[in-house]
Symmetry: C2
Subunit: 162 residues, 2 copies
DNA sequence: TAAAAACTGTTCCATTCCAAACAGTTCGTT
DNA sequence: AACGAACTGTTTGGAATGGAACAGTTTTTA
């Protein structure tokens, strides 16, 4: 019988939906939160990524934020024009562009973090309903899944030949 | 000291990133999987939602798939033109539209499910790296978070006044 | 040290997305 | 029944997205 096969399949579908539900719920908050602050979701991602680095090249930023370079280039343009980011040239490298947040940018990001009803506030409240153990287990399981998925990407498109 | 406040905040940020990582990894697969089959991501979502119902109205479909009705209307148009979905009128209700999959649609969805290197195949392999307990705990924790987030939505925009 | 290849970022444009305006239908009130 | 409000789905128009072509820079190869 293919009962096992079918059951494995169902387990995967159920978990996929579970992620999907959370993801879409979060996206609604993020989209609203971004729009309220005059940002696109891409720009929001960029800011949240860049804040974790002092400086970062566009290339690395694109990898971390999972954004195609064309989108990145345009989104950054908007942020620079608003004075939230700065572009630098690196000495001895006229190809790569270094990005960093301006004072104004840092303040702006902080204000988003603490915004009433923003994704960060709400998600923090949500996390507080979890026990320590639940939280830790969750991170471990997520990392396990993430690592697996990432491995498949690097195998260029998930095509595995023997 | 606000050490605790800060720590709570960090915990939430870390988990948010953890979800974000998985989400973006999954999106890469889904996007590729959709494009390969000539679908937009919205259309992909629609098909995956509709397959779990025999019939569904556009309104309900929109709620389950978290898609705005304008996007929905156009995405469905494409699917109907490709002969994957059918629109029906309900007797005694000339406003709502009932949607269902055609035979061709069902076959199409099945073929996506079993596609080599598709999100379903890869995610299933990923899920198999989890123990039963990890899997069950994951679902519980997700549901807990999902429920919390959903509650905030219905509170129309997360604004809570006393 | 040329020429070719690879690499980083920009520009272009066709497609997709979604808020808002709209059209038609149903419900509620009088 | 008639009016207005609410509801479901479509159309419209402007913005966001991302693949592909491109421009300039650096590295590799011959």
């Amino acid at each position: 019988m293919d009962n096992n096969v079918n059951q494995d399949f169902m387990r995967s579908v159920i978990l996929l939906r579970s992620f999907s539900d959370i993801q879409k719920n979060m996206m609604l908050f993020i989209q609203r939160n971004a729009t309220e602050n005059g940002l696109t979701v891409s720009q929001y991602s960029i800011l949240m990524t860049i804040i974790r680095h002092k400086e970062i090249t566009q290339k690395v930023l694109g990898e971390e934020a999972f954004l195609p370079k064309s989108t990145l280039s345009q989104a950054i343009d908007g942020l620079v024009k608003r004075g939230l980011l700065q572009r630098h040239q690196v000495d001895g490298n006229r190809r790569e562009v270094l990005l960093s947040t301006s004072k104004k940018g840092v303040d702006f990001i902080k204000s988003i973090h603490t915004q009433e009803g923003g994704i960060h506030q709400i998600f923090q409240a949500a996390v507080e309903t979890l026990t320590e153990k639940q939280y830790d287990d969750l991170l471990v399981a997520h990392l396990q899944l993430s690592t697996f998925l990432e491995k498949y990407h690097t195998e260029q498109g998930g095509l595995v030949s023997d």
